[in-house]
Symmetry: C2
């Protein structure tokens, strides 16, 4: 329309061939605006659900007194604190007593100690009928302490062995130096620090930071408070009423599967958000807060698990503290003892499944096998994923399948099943 100062007659609008932008013949138009629109739709759709939820239920957040009663469980807190005794006992055992008794006896005492650490919280939770959330947290912390002490015991055992057989003389300088100091491999300060480090793997040396960055630390603490509050709102305002409704549907004689599907789909989103915030709150906030305070420098607690193309990739990347522990203390020791790689992997996964069941069943106060089954059912999917690994490399299909299987199908189903089991358990 350059000839603006002329007659319409001379303003030819159609001068040449053109294709429509949305036709396949068009040369890569820029769709960035639709990306923005998608993000807006997401926000609007979620905002509508919030308004709908308030209209339907009002505000469901617990009364603070009730909340403190439920969540701040004194027995749990005391049990958690009491962990210091088995820990100190383990330190004493490994640094003093082990020199006087046989290696086998030391390992046996260690095993009894592990059992005590893992069983004691179950008794407390069962006796005091502790709420799911603090119970789950307590079991998680006890599991962590147990894994830490196992790692500590193994490393100390190997250090004594290496000293006895003089094998340590061929070790790298750093380790050789430590073992040469027999029997004083380590000291109580390092051990106490280890208990607070966000890692389960005991080492004689860790990378450390120079100083505590106070502003940085307070930002993480602020994020932790915000994310914890969000989780609380999600659980009390969205997930709990949804699950109550779902239980009703499941308790009817003729289950209406369309309604059940609708409940499942409705549960998907708050459950997914809870899961993402839980991850952020634990792996980003909590672990970084702990690291900053203890000046622990290796902050790689997770890799880019959100880009996982297979379930196997997800399990290898989302939780590095546990993944590293399993590799270092289960998988590689088994491979070293000439078990097959697949068998070792299977046992590792089995152990992880048992640990998941321990936390879920323990916190629900009813022994089920659903968390275990949910974990084990992933093995065939992981195998299938590994078979098609090469084909999935360059496409996003694997990642989409991962999200759908894991967050849209798997997690909501297992949450519904476990809630239902816990409901049946509480009735009988």
């Amino acid at each position: 329309m350059a000839q603006a100062n002329a007659r319409s007659l001379l303003m030819n609008v159609h001068k040449k061939e053109n294709v429509s932008l949305l036709s396949t013949e068009a040369q890569s138009p820029n769709y960035r605006g639709f990306f923005n629109l998608g993000a807006i739709i997401l926000i609007v759709a979620n905002f509508r659900l919030i308004v709908e939820n308030v209209l339907k239920y009002g505000f469901l957040l617990q009364h603070p007194v009730e909340f403190i009663n439920d969540y701040l469980s004194a027995p749990c807190f005391l049990t958690w604190l009491s962990n210091i005794f088995p820990a100190i006992f383990a330190y004493y055992l490994e640094t003093r007593q082990a020199l006087k008794i046989s290696q086998t006896l030391t390992r046996l005492i260690q095993f009894i100690l592990q059992c005590y650490i893992l069983i004691m919280p179950l008794c407390v939770i069962s006796h005091y009928k502790v709420h799911f959330v603090p119970a789950f947290l307590l079991l998680t912390y006890h599991l962590i302490v147990s894994l830490k002490l196992y790692s500590f015991g193994s490393v100390m055992y190997e250090a004594r062995e290496a000293y006895a057989t003089k094998e340590y003389l061929n070790y790298p300088a750093e380790i050789k130096e430590v073992i040469a100091k027999y029997p004083n491999f380590t000291n109580i300060t390092h051990f106490i620090y280890f208990l607070f480090y966000p890692t389960m793997c005991f080492q004689f040396h860790y990378p450390r930071t120079q100083r505590i960055r106070k502003t940085w630390l307070f930002k993480r603490i602020f994020e932790f408070i915000i994310s914890s509050s969000l989780m609380l709102i999600l659980i009390q305002q969205y997930i709990t009423p949804l699950l109550k409704n779902t239980i009703k549907v499941l308790e009817e004689e003729n289950i209406n599967y369309v309604i059940l599907l609708e409940r499942h789909l409705k549960l998907c989103l708050p459950n997914l958000y809870l899961w993402l915030i839980l991850f952020y709150s634990s792996f980003q906030c909590q672990f970084n807060i702990l690291s900053e305070i203890t000046r622990f420098a290796d902050r790689e607690f997770y890799k880019e698990w959100w880009n996982s193309r297979t379930l196997g990739e997800y399990w290898r990347t989302w939780n590095l503290p546990v993944h590293n522990w399993l590799l270092r203390h289960v998988y590689f020791p088994m491979v070293n003892k000439k078990y097959g790689k697949t068998f070792s992997m299977l046992v590792t996964f089995l152990l992880s499944a048992v640990a998941h069941e321990y936390m879920v069943s323990g916190a629900c106060r009813i022994l089920t096998y659903w968390a275990f089954l949910a974990m084990m059912s992933q093995i065939p999917m992981i195998v299938i994923g590994d078979i098609f690994k090469k084909q999935l490399e360059k496409s996003q299909i694997g990642n989409v399948v991962f999200w759908v299987l894991f967050c849209m199908i798997g997690q909501p189903i297992i949450v519904i099943i476990i809630t239902h089991q816990a409901y049946i358990g509480s009735k009988s």
Copy 2:
């Protein structure tokens, strides 16, 4: 973990400083997986709404007989067909009669013809109480014919003027050649083709394609059928019950604004989808089908309006046939007559607002001013957008504001208001 064949003791997991990927210190991690997750959430959230809708309303699609009765209105169809008479009359007027009568008289007859074309369908719709959808389509087609004939009349008028004043001798060769053939500037075949071309601007020559690509054409027809069906489902299954509920809320004595907000938010999405599909169905499918059949080669019916950073940009890019017509026959002629650019722009926009009101009020069979107001209220926003144009250039904020203002706030409000007005109209 390279030293796989060694003791745990030697497998140091934590060797160096690392930052967590989600920390701001991390070097640009790849978040592609979250993009996939967002897309999945969108699909799941919409799928849930579909299931919820079916559970609540069952299937609301009309009985075919009722549908034919409502949508395939015989009076509308006949009125639409009858457009050929004023069109042929206009051709006769401009090519034969205009040579014998004065230019002014020709323009007057043209004006009466325009009025006839625009008023006649209003009478038909009002008399036969035609359903909104066919009424809206009929008014749109009549408006198009009217704009086409205006363009034809203007160009022919200017051609005669140019011949009379010999001004045409300075014109580009292509146009000069045409005008030299006075009085036979054009022929009836070209004129009939023009009526079917997807453009409102009359030219003596258009770019044409070599042949009709049949497979391509059938693909577009298939897309058109699919998109029309989707629109029908959206209107009957989602938007109509929602609007009925919203009217109930508005008719209550004390309007509950939270419920109204929830209704608005719920209307947003199906309304947006309807709007996007309507755009695709018209501008991509219909216009390309017409173009392919008439071998019209300039298929640029829209630009990348979805990337608009201001409302002004949107109005300049989403509907090029109308935009080009307004520029060629309203804006530039006014600028040529030394009206200010802003004033000319304002008048152009005003005309467009009147045209919108014509279609909406006509199809609702009640004279309102809401579509007009909705258009005019955009002028200050367009002005603000143009002021901040430079600042908006490199960010996505402008585009986000555009989508929110236009699709999330503006359109649903205007749809609710017009439905309410039509409801009040139908009661009285």
